[in-house]
């Protein structure tokens, strides 16, 4: 179990700055997820922690030791690739023991580690097969097994579940969480799938353009997103946004635009609001009270434009004076398209962002 500390990391690839002055502290034994859209630098960061990409400047510490220029094999890490990267000419057993054989581990120890990994991942009957004769899920398990036998302090995962079908993904997700409990190793996991990130992470770093936007627990990131990007990235369907102004009236602070007014006096402002300012109000779809008329604020009217059935709940898309907003209904009452419907906004978990800087107020 080692911690990973990244200080002022700078990575330039082909002339472009992919990562600039990045600082990240992963505690020993923690499961950290790097989440972000394609091209945000999360895979680059992971590969530089692994030692496969050279840094332009900055330090990478693993287990308290400076590993910025160490060889990948000396860093005490293991990496699971998105495309599994299994050696096609070797069978599963040899795939897993390749690294151990290179480092001269005694045969008995190799056998012990391989059997432990294959027990954990149910690879027993597959040991003599070649990767070409395995299904996608089995291949991914072998790739994870190869990482486990290294008994590394830090395990790195580069979007390992992206190439699997949806059902397999949920299964392996649970197995990975179990694995973390069993092994207790520090795990850094890269994904663009927010569901994976939310379910697996103890702490999550949302990245955009090579910069960490917010590094916190999934619950905090979901409930208190630090900026507009994080707010809209997480949550399905995305957060509803209303542009407007903050105004002071007597002792109360109001968010106001031409169609609605919301009392935000009890909102946890980082700095007490002064005067008026342009801002954006964010309301999660589950905080839109549809049809229910005893909400905290006034009743608002909209037209139903689309109903999406999700099985357990339904997503309702409402046309509110030209903007599309999403709401969630749990009951099975019939709701017709193009009908007028009333809704209200629950104010317990709102988000306010500055209109210009898009930072949380």
């Amino acid at each position: 179990m080692s911690n990973v500390a990244i200080r002022n990391l700078q990575i330039e690839l082909g002339g472009t700055k992919v990562i600039e002055s990045l600082n990240l502290d992963v505690k020993a034994g923690e499961f950290v997820v790097l989440l972000g859209p394609s091209g945000c630098g999360k895979s680059t960061l992971l590969h530089s922690i692994a030692g496969l990409i050279d840094t332009t400047s900055g330090q990478i510490e693993i287990g308290g030791k400076d590993m910025t220029w160490a060889d990948p094999k000396d860093r005490g890490i293991a990496l699971v690739f998105q495309s599994y990267a299994l050696y096609p000419t070797m069978n599963v057993e040899n795939n897993m023991s390749f690294g151990l054989r290179i480092s001269g581990t005694p045969k008995a120890e190799i056998a012990r580690r391989v059997s432990r990994a294959s027990d954990m991942l149910q690879l027993g009957p597959l040991l003599k097969r070649k990767p070409a004769n395995l299904s996608g899920g089995q291949r991914q398990r072998v790739a994870i097994g190869r990482a486990i036998v290294r008994e590394a302090d830090v395990m790195l995962f580069d979007e390992p579940l992206s190439n699997l079908d949806a059902k397999l993904r949920t299964e392996l997700r649970r197995e990975l969480k179990q694995l973390h409990k069993q092994l207790g190793a520090t795990m850094i996991y890269v994904t663009h799938d927010q569901v994976e990130a939310m379910t697996l992470a103890q702490r999550m770093a949302v990245m955009k353009g090579g910069v960490v936007q917010q590094f916190d627990t999934p619950a905090n990131i979901y409930n208190e997103p630090a900026n507009l990007f994080v707010a809209t990235f997480l949550g399905s369907p995305g957060m509803n946004l209303f542009r407007g102004r903050l105004e002071q009236h007597g002792g109360r602070t109001l968010f106001r635009n031409e169609h609605l007014a919301v009392d935000v006096t009890h909102y946890p402002f980082r700095q007490p609001p002064v005067g008026t300012r342009e801002c954006v109000l964010g309301v999660r779809p589950e905080d839109i009270d549809i049809g229910n008329t005893d909400g905290a604020e006034g009743i608002l009217g909209a037209t139903v434009s689309l109903v999406e059935a999700m099985g357990a709940h339904r997503v309702l898309w409402l046309d509110f004076h030209g903007t599309q907003i999403a709401g969630i209904v749990q009951d099975q009452q019939k709701i017709d398209s193009d009908k007028d419907i009333s809704f209200s906004i629950r104010t317990k978990r709102l988000s306010l962002f500055d209109g210009a800087s898009e930072q949380r107020l």
């Binding site: 990267a85 290179i102 290294r150």
Partner: protein, 325 residues
């Protein structure tokens, strides 16, 4: 228009069936054949089809007729050849010219037949092929995975070397080899062939390894593999298709080489091609056409046999991406 398309589909289906059969995938072949049979319409003889066939037959004849003449002449006694009937089948079939070509034809001063040249060629081809492929493979591997600084420049220089005609470099190479005492010797000619084979072999292997996923290499590096271990234990076992292509290219090219063997091999190691030229062009007195024909066919036996045995793998190797662009 639709009718012509259907015919072409049938032709393509037959082609698919034959290539599928060649690929030993019985299921695919059966499917292709049955789908061709499923189209019960008979293929009519349009002028276009007749033209295609006519062209193919003429082209085939163009290449096969000399071979036929050679084969037929090589088994005729000289009296029949003097009759001048080039295409006639032999009346008195004799294998004497073949025996003569192999062991008693005169190659310059000695009259030991062409068998000496055969073994010389083998002695040249085997080490040259092994060395040039080994070096090309390591080069291609280093260029595509390790990508050292300046690799692009080195590669460009190597490729430039491939475009300079061999004849231009003969005299400078003679001087260089003479300076290191390797001129006119077996190690010298092997070295020459290895060097001349490097550009193409490097290109071949580099393109092949470029198509292999980089993540495989990264995984091996994380596992602790160094330059040679990753090459020998991981990349080389995966390179069978491209090695087959490289072997076929090199054996055919080096066996058929004349100029370099003539200049650099030295009189004790003259390859079969040079010996053949000696037999044919330096006879005094009567020209023994049947012996000449037999000697020529003997010289080309090795590349021909190589093609017939492994041609299928060559095509497969190219089709599967062993040679890209």
């Amino acid at each position: 228009m639709g009718y012509v398309v259907k015919q072409e589909n049938a032709v393509i289906a037959v082609a698919e069936a034959s290539s599928a059969a060649a690929n030993d995938s019985g299921v695919a072949a059966a499917n292709a054949l049955s789908s061709a049979a499923g189209r019960r319409r008979k293929l009519a003889w349009t002028p276009a089809r007749a033209g295609v066939y006519a062209f193919l037959i003429v082209a085939a004849l163009f290449f096969l007729l000399p071979l036929y003449v050679m084969l037929v002449t090589s088994v005729k006694p000289m009296e029949e050849i003097r009759l001048g009937t080039l295409f006639a089948l032999p009346v008195n079939l004799t294998l004497e010219p073949w025996v003569q070509a192999w062991q008693s034809a005169c190659t310059g001063l000695e009259c030991d037949g062409i068998r000496g040249g055969f073994w010389n060629s083998v002695a040249i081809v085997v080490p040259s092929t092994i060395l040039s492929i080994a070096i090309g493979a390591v080069n291609g591997y280093a260029l595509s995975f390790w990508r050292p600084r300046g690799a692009g420049v080195l590669f460009a220089i190597l490729m430039m070397g491939a475009f300079i005609p061999v004849q231009v470099m003969v005299y400078p190479l003679v001087r260089v080899l003479a300076a290191v005492d390797l001129f006119s010797s077996l190690p010298g000619i092997v070295l020459i062939h290895t060097i001349f084979g490097m550009p193409v072999m490097t290109l071949l292997f580099r393109n092949y390894y470029a198509a292999l996923p980089m993540e495989l290499f990264k995984a091996a590096r994380i596992d602790g593999g160094g330059f040679w271990r990753i090459f020998l234990q991981l990349m080389l076992p995966m390179s069978t298709p491209v090695i087959v292509v490289a072997v076929i290219m090199q054996v055919t090219g080096i066996w058929n080489d004349f100029l370099l063997g003539l200049v650099f091999a030295g009189s004790e190691h003259l390859p079969m091609t040079v010996q053949l030229n000696n037999i044919i062009n330096t006879t005094t007195g009567e020209r023994l056409y049947n012996v000449n024909m037999a000697a020529t066919i003997l010289t080309s036996v090795v590349p021909l046999a190589l093609y017939f045995i492994s041609g299928r793998w060559f095509v497969r190797g190219i089709a599967s991406g062993a040679v890209k662009g």
